[in-house]
């Protein structure tokens, strides 16, 4: 109980401190200390919780009888609404519908709250395995990203002198994010979740608009209205629950008659999909790339989008075997397919990462929509693995961009000669995303196993999406490992960033080797099933991990009798192996770009098609269950 409140409230301290202290030394120490505290608090809480022994599903509720807390959240809602209206104050007339969205959702919620129509509850806070897992992800991965941010922001402002240095506020926003995320995962009261939910929206708005360039501001407002749409759905769920179901507790709602609560649950799922950037809402997450990279790492891995899939997983048992659940699953599946396809045609590193995030979140939503214990097992595993590997990749790309000046995948050609350590980190991250026996593949394996059991079209979706992901990750890997002519090393400029990068890289590998520990202690008690925990499977994965870990040793082997030659150029070599004899008898440099298959996987075409389909599905869902 203490640790829960500590985790929720503690991040506010560094957030406030950072608003006051602006000098780099102070920022550094505030961040380091607070991150250490948050990390340890999350771990201590986990240890305390697990002391009852593994394999027992226990949900701890902590009743609070004082009505004070409710007033606080009510006041918080009012303040938040005012803040939203405040940030919209300079919008042109034709964008007036953005503040309208704010009023539309906050007016009824606040009215219900003040007039006492929202049902009473005392069970605001709870703790179970899923919250524990989320708390660890936010605490550990989030903290590592924050530590990295200190170094990144220093470089960022050296590179962009035109942008005023407000990095203390940027990092303060990150801590505000922690506050909101911990609020979401520990709350059992749906009005509380709503309050924290909207704070994450506000935080991402602030982060995306950080540089205040025209593009950044535009994307920030786009993210704002798209996310407010999800908030609106959430507000509708609160009104519906208050007036028709007489409860505002998450656990009570999930235990009620399915037909009665279908509407609010689907509304919450809508909000979740919206936050998880599923098509047709994918644009906000793609636009979020204009912000400094750590914010992308944060949004994509441990916070924000994970809140979206978290809430969908919470609701999953209630939509199991319903048409509504199938539609949710279908939207997730289509998103997985489309995002993987578009990923092939992108050459901007961050965009590839973004599409892969959207795709993998789609897979998680697909699992949640099906809602069997097996698929939920896989979904939670996906959340864990994805958070670590994706954070690592974003930080990696951010570092490479700062050191080489480009995040274009083609420009990363031959990175292994320029930045061997960064290449190793990127390879670990990419392997973590798609290659056996690393995390995401273990999870995908479980997904396929689970879906095959269901026997439907979903395995086909997963198979095709997975194959397309394989294609774009592998060609990226290929660019990294190409050995080009010797070039000066470019790794000296990286300082405190290593402190975020290496632990994440090690974590990516460790978590795969010990996925079964996570499975037995954390995930299995939740859903009571263990698709991949048979001894033979664990061994298989372990053997492969060991084989993979031995790989770097192989580079130490000194091959005898190696004869070095230049690459074959069909007899058109000139002295320099990177040139060939051109038609005019002059030496010309050659280069080779990857395939992007724009004919098949064109971003505009695929996005349009997918948006149309998913919008139709969403409209059907809303009309059928929420208005009918």
């Amino acid at each position: 109980m203490f640790w829960i409140f500590f985790l929720i409230l503690f991040p506010l301290i560094p957030a406030l401190l950072l608003l006051v202290f602006k000098n780099p030394g102070a920022i550094k120490w505030i961040v380091l200390v607070s991150c250490a505290v948050i990390c340890s608090a999350a771990i201590i809480m986990t240890v305390n919780y697990l002391q009852t022994g593994p394999g027992k599903q226990q949900v701890l509720y902590f009743p609070i009888s004082s009505p004070m807390v409710d007033y606080l959240v009510g006041i918080g809602d009012i303040i938040l609404a005012l803040v939203f209206l405040f940030v919209c104050r300079r919008l042109p007339f034709k964008k007036l519908w953005i503040p309208l969205l704010v009023i539309l959702q906050y007016a009824p919620v606040i009215y219900y709250d003040l007039s006492g129509r929202v049902p009473e509850t005392t069970q605001y806070i709870f703790l179970d395995n899923l919250s524990i897992i989320m708390a660890l992800i936010i605490g550990i991965v989030g903290s590592l990203i924050t530590v990295y941010t200190i170094g990144y922001m220093r470089h960022y402002h050296e590179e962009h002198p035109e942008i005023p240095d407000r990095s203390n506020k940027f990092i303060a926003t990150i801590f505000l994010f922690f506050f909101a995320m911990y609020g979401i995962i520990f709350s059992n009261s749906i009005t509380w979740i709503y309050f924290f939910w909207e704070i994450t929206t506000l935080c991402s708005f602030i982060m995306i608009g950080y540089s205040r360039t025209e593009e950044a501001v535009h994307n920030a407002y786009r993210a704002l209205w798209m996310l407010l749409l999800g908030g609106l759905a959430y507000a509708c769920a609160i009104i519906y629950l208050s007036s028709s179901c007489g409860t505002i507790e998450l656990n009570t709602m999930l235990g009620m008659n399915q037909a009665l609560v279908m509407a609010p649950i689907l509304l919450i799922c809508f909000a979740g999909m919206n936050k998880a950037a599923q098509f047709p809402f994918s644009k906000w997450l793609l636009g979020a790339m204009v912000a400094p990279t750590p914010s992308s790492a944060l949004l994509h891995s441990s916070t924000m989008v994970k809140a979206g899939v978290y809430i969908c997983i919470r609701c999953a048992p209630a939509v199991r075997n319903t048409l509504g659940g199938d539609i949710v699953a279908l939207i997730g599946g289509i998103t997985f397919l489309a995002a993987s396809a578009i990923g092939i045609s992108r050459r901007d590193g961050k965009q590839v990462l973004a599409y892969s995030t959207i795709g993998n979140l789609g897979l998680i939503i697909l699992c949640a929509g099906i809602g069997t214990p097996l698929t939920l097992w896989a979904a939670v595993m996906l959340i864990i693995f994805h958070a670590v590997a994706k954070a690592l990749l974003f930080l990696g790309v951010g570092t490479i961009e700062q050191q080489t000046g480009s995040r274009d995948i083609e420009e990363m050609h031959g990175l292994i000669t320029k930045m061997p350590r960064m290449t190793l980190i990127m390879l670990i991250g990419i392997a973590g995303m798609f290659l056996a026996p690393f995390g995401m593949l273990i999870a995908k394996w479980a997904v396929l196993e689970a879906l095959a059991k269901e026997g439907s079209i979903f395995p086909v979706i997963v198979i095709f999406g997975g194959s397309m992901m394989l294609f774009f990750w592998a060609k990226w890997m290929g660019q990294l490992v190409a050995v080009i002519r010797p070039e000066p090393r470019k790794e000296e400029g990286i300082g405190i960033e290593w402190l975020g990068l290496w632990p994440l890289a090690i974590l990516t590998v460790l978590i795969c080797a010990f996925y079964w520990v996570v499975g037995i202690y954390a995930v299995e008690p939740l859903f009571g099933t263990d698709p991949l925990l048979s001894l033979i499977n664990i061994w298989m994965v372990l053997v492969m991990i060991v084989m993979m870990l031995m790989l770097p040793l192989g580079f130490l082997i000194h091959w005898k009798h190696l004869v070095h030659v230049e690459p074959y150029l069909c007899g058109a070599n000139v002295k320099d192996p990177h040139m060939f004899m051109g038609a005019l008898g002059k030496g010309r440099y050659w280069w080779f770009n990857n395939y992007y298959l724009n004919k098949y996987f064109n971003e505009k075409k695929v996005t349009f098609l997918t948006n149309t389909i998913t919008t139709v599905l969403l409209v059907i869902m809303l009309f059928r269950w929420c208005l009918g």
């Binding site: 292994i416 086909v460 192989g554 080779f592």
Partner: protein, 292 residues
Amino acid sequence: MTSLWLIIGYVVLAPLIGGIISGLDRIITARMQGRYGPPVRQAFFDVFKLFEKQNLTVNRFHGYYLVCFLIFIIFSGILFFGGSDLLMVVFAFTVADIFLVLAAYSTNSPYCSIGAERELLQMLAAEPMLLLTAVGFYMVFGSFHVSVIYRAALGGKLPILYLPGVFLGLTYVLTIKFRKSPFDLSTSHHAHQELIKGLTTEFAGPSLALIEIAHWYETVLLLGMVYLFFAFVPIIGVIITLFIYFVEILIDNTNARIKWQLMLESAWLATLVLGGLNLLALYLFAMISKGG
């Protein structure tokens, strides 16, 4: 215990069998082309000779990736013949292939890079069908484990009767996996132009020998998958499997290489139509039998 013997048998005998198949392949191909052809043992002579040669290399990494390629091919074969999870077999097979692609990329030579890229395209084309095959087996036998499927097949539940579409689809992408014409885009056994040596352009001597040996293991593994469909009476199964390989040779010799676009489209179409419809039929039957 049997599975242990099968594993040992695979590791020891697969190169032998693969080599003999490769030798037969060359004889049959020669006869189809009106030539006499080399002796069956020629494939072994070639590999031994390759090991004798100088180890030409562009950089110190690529030979090493090739070793990983070989190791993971053997590993996935061990998983298969050890009766393990079919999905994991396909995944390990993919890892092996990725190492081959990385080896080619690391040379940073234009022909090799084109070959690597095309190999990735071949994987993109073939991977869905391989995984769909695993899912098909699961829908019939309720397990991904090869040992379970094999026992059920020996017990009289012949996979081919339930999965004819999946089998045809697999046969289609098998040509891609064997890198035989019309799908020999990434590399080919025939050295008639630089572009089509693709992937293997920069590999010479012992490195090339490694690829050859890995290819033998690969062949045996893939034929093992074909055999699984007919695992009822061993002798019939072997004959049909060899016949399928003969068909591959026939296709190889009667078809010109096609563009990657056509490969991708046709392979995915085959996967969706042959594999997908088969699975749909299984699903419907299961629904009907459940309802009845």
